[in-house]
Amino acid sequence: MSKQRTVTFNHNPLLRHGLPAWRPRAVMLGLMACSLALIGRAMYLQGVNNEFLQAKGESRYARVLEVPATRGRVTDRHGDMLAVSTPVRSIWAIPTDVNLTPPDARKLAGLLEMDVQELNRRLAAGRDFVYLKRQVSPESAQQIADLKLAGVHQQQEYRRYYPGGEVMAHVLGFTGVDDKGQEGVELAFDGTLAGKAGARRVIRDRRGQIIEDVEAIRAPRDGQDLALSIDAKIQYLAYSALRQAMQTHKAKAGASVVLDARTGEVLALVNAPTYNPNNRSNLSGAQLRNRVLTDVYEPGSIMKPFIVGLALDRGKVQPGTIIDTSPGRMTIGRATISDSHRNGALTVAQVIQKSSNIGTVKVAMHFSPDEMWRLYDDLGFGKPLNLGFPGEAGGRLRPAKTWKPIEQATMSYGHGVSVSLIQMAHAYLAFARDGELVPLSLTRLDAPPVGGKRIFSAATAREMRGMLELASGPGGTAPKAQVAGYRVAGKTGTAIKLEGAHYTNKYVSSYVGLAPASDPRLIVAVMIDEPSAGQYYGGAVAAPVFAQITEGALRALGVAPDAPLVPLQLAQKQGAVVPARENM
């Protein structure tokens, strides 16, 4: 370092050293250069690189929010509300932003209807976003908003409400918490009912509050309303009749479907047991099952009229053709089939009336397996009806080539083949509509369908209706199916349940009928699963349900009576049943 000694005699050392004037200038220049650097940098950030920086900013605080669309309403054919969307709010939180005092926590937990521990457990979740509770009523949500808690937010949503409750449950199904259809019509017609949520871009502060609505990206499109073919009044009738029968006969389950014979519209579709779609906690699979559509069973005698119809149509037999059914047993190959009673010689009409297995088999023997298969296939058995319902069953109808003679015989009277109740009701349209089948519809039709599929000639269909009317008359298997003021036609079925590969001693009692027989308007099918109060014949268990539904439904529709108002039922007091004539 400088060894220069500065001990001088000058009174002012600065005269020698001075303060160099270039130094302040240099410092000044340096600072001004810094200022210029700052200005240059600011120009770069604010004038050149600004788009990149703004994009970065957008990605941090711009959010695209969903604007929920309202789901379409579901009504019955007369416009009565069956499913409506009500606004609700979901309460969510950013746990790290939430800092609740104990009184606040108590208040919030109270409004959310949960206990404080549960609330704290949710808030302790190590996530950025947690639902505290979904689908909270607008009133509670407002009270929560009034608490002004940091980190607790709300979101507009819709909740489905079903005014019809358990009566309509299986028709309508329900939506999930995300407003998407999960069962029934809600699922089948989800594409129509579901709206398309809109979107808007907003800017939010770091605490999630929206501070600016930047733009609407897409307007929400509400879902379309849907008018079902269901008639709420008939649906209620069917439901209460079914429930009553379930109790009387201590049945495991039951189902019923009512069709409009003129249009193929489904007027009622009920199942038991059922559930309350508005409160679906502790729901069991048995309650959820839509037995009308998803359960298949061996229909039994209900099947008999079809093959007889085909024989009439092809001129193989006449209604008066005599068929000898004695001795009430018949051996085909190594198997034996039998009637429950020895009927002796019967006309074809009586075969139906008395429900003779042997008579039916003898009629069926006029046809090859292939012809019979084609009939069943034309009637829609073995394949789903494609109503769009989830889990719709097709039933079992094996290819004709694999049929053994004994199988063809049993299939003619409804064993070895399985169908769903709605398939059976649909097939009976052929008798009700003078030989013509039309597809079924769950939605209200503006015009009756044209050009159905012809199965039988109109004459055959009329003859068959006559036979079916006899079967429901005093000498038939189901006199309890009769309705005051109207002529009814129909057929009972009592099938032994097949479990695994074995027949059990459990029964499925069913009845399918049409009314009024002179000009059919309705087809009503009833199925009671495992009646266990003693009676199990279709005529005793299912036929009275048919009568109850049909009577109410015809009155509700204002159909003119076609029979003299003779109190037919008075002839038989309750309990005076005629199960002896029944067959399987």
Partner: protein, 410 residues
């Protein structure tokens, strides 16, 4: 006005003699703008006043959201701006009082003040006495307010360095006698400041001290050596401490770890980008809504950039440049008049404000690594504002005394 009259009365009664009455006249002039303040530098006053007032407005704008949304402030939106205004008032009163002190008196008391500053820096480190916020023990609680000794130390360092340089002028060429004592002193101050820790304050204090030494004529070779040692030392410090190293690399590419180490800077840069040329408008900043931490203190410029745009930033930079330039000019004037202490004090204050504002703005724009330094005269912070006001008063005092000398009144 009554207060001012009383104040000048009090001043004249205390300071008997020519200067005292002149001082009270000057104070009256200062308070009455209709009288042309010929005795004071108008550019300096107006640029400082503009910075202080813009600072007040921007502190309010940038703190509304955090004040309103915090339990700590009792959800009052005026929480910070009221405190800032009170400190500003205290600063103005303090400045008026400081203006009364002659430069000779400042020189007399400079070593004592420096020692007092050192003592405060020691006291603040005593556990239980100093108050810790966010892991830094920088504040001394004094009843309702907190004193930040490091802010006062910057002023005392400027005064002491000037006094030291003037005393050691003959030794300015000597490393051992001219440079070493000051270097040791600064190392001591640095040690205390880094214990808090307050790295930013240390950088400013060192810049003031060595800057004054440099302006005071220290041997250039010594200074170059010092610069080299400082750079190596700083590099080592940064290299050995992972915390500082991360800060250094974080500023180089904030988008690398934009939600971690680069979080603060990336939000500051976004604020600049959003502001464009003319800003999004006063009050319309989004970044201040909890995204940008320290919006009303260290990152006030980012909010200015967003709300007032490049025009606002340019205004601030230019105002600081004017202020610093005037300080240096006043310093040179004083030195020309052979008032070396006054000259070096003025330049020291100029360096202080220049260096600190540059570092703060450099940090905001991503030119410099992130460190905790406020924007002088503008950012929220009581001790800082009061110390800045007193420094401005001393600057004006130097200028005023210069003018007196030139008029031959001294």
């Amino acid at each position: 006005m009554k207060f001012v009259t009383a104040l000048s009365g009090w001043i004249s009664s205390r300071n008997t003699g020519g200067i005292g009455s002149d001082t009270s006249r000057a104070v009256n002039r200062l308070m009455r703008p209709q009288t042309p303040a010929r005795d004071l530098d108008p550019l300096l006053i107006w640029s400082a006043a503009a910075l202080l007032l813009i600072g007040l407005v921007m502190v309010y704008s940038s703190s509304i959201a955090i004040a309103e949304g915090s339990k700590f402030t009792g959800y009052q939106q005026y929480y910070f701006v009221i405190r800032h205004a009170i400190f500003l008032a205290i600063g103005v009163v303090g400045g008026l009082m400081a203006f009364q002190v002659t430069m000779r008196q400042w020189q007399q008391f400079a070593p004592l003040l420096f020692l007092a500053g050192l003592a405060l820096l020691v006291i603040v480190l005593i556990p239980g006495v100093g108050r810790e916020v966010n892991g830094a023990q920088r504040w001394l609680p004094l009843g309702p307010v907190n004193l930040q000794p490091s802010e006062l130390m910057k002023l005392f360092a400027a005064l002491y360095a000037a006094d030291y340089t003037v005393r050691k002028l003959p030794d300015m060429g000597s490393f051992r006698r001219g440079f070493l004592p000051m270097a040791i002193t600064i190392v001591l101050v640095g040690f205390l400041l880094l214990r808090e820790p307050d790295f930013g304050a240390f950088v400013v204090v060192a810049a003031i001290a060595f800057g004054v030494l440099f302006l005071g004529g220290i041997n250039v070779r010594v200074f170059v050596l010092l610069a080299i040692v400082a750079v190596i030392g700083l590099a080592l410090l940064v290299w050995l401490s992972p915390y500082r190293r991360d800060r250094l690399f974080g500023f180089m590419d904030p988008w690398q770890d934009a939600f971690g180490k680069g979080y603060q800077l990336s939000h500051a840069l976004i604020a600049f980008g959003r502001g464009e040329w003319f800003g999004v408008g006063l009050g319309a900043s989004v970044e201040k809504l909890f995204y940008l931490p320290e919006a009303h203190t260290d990152f006030l410029l980012a909010v200015i950039a967003e709300e007032l745009g490049f025009v606002g930033v340019l205004t601030i930079v230019v105002l600081f440049a004017i202020l610093v330039h005037r300080a240096m000019m006043i310093g040179r004037e004083a030195i020309k008049l052979e008032r070396y202490f006054s000259g070096l004090v003025a330049m020291g204050i100029g360096l202080w404000i220049g260096v600190q504002s540059f570092i703060n703005m450099g940090v905001n724009t991503g030119l410099l690594p992130t460190k905790g330094l406020t924007l002088p005269l503008m950012s929220f912070g009581g001790s800082g504002i009061v110390a800045n006001c007193i420094a401005l008063a001393i600057l004006l005092r130097v200028d005023w005394e210069n003018r007196q000398v030139m008029r031959g009144r001294s």
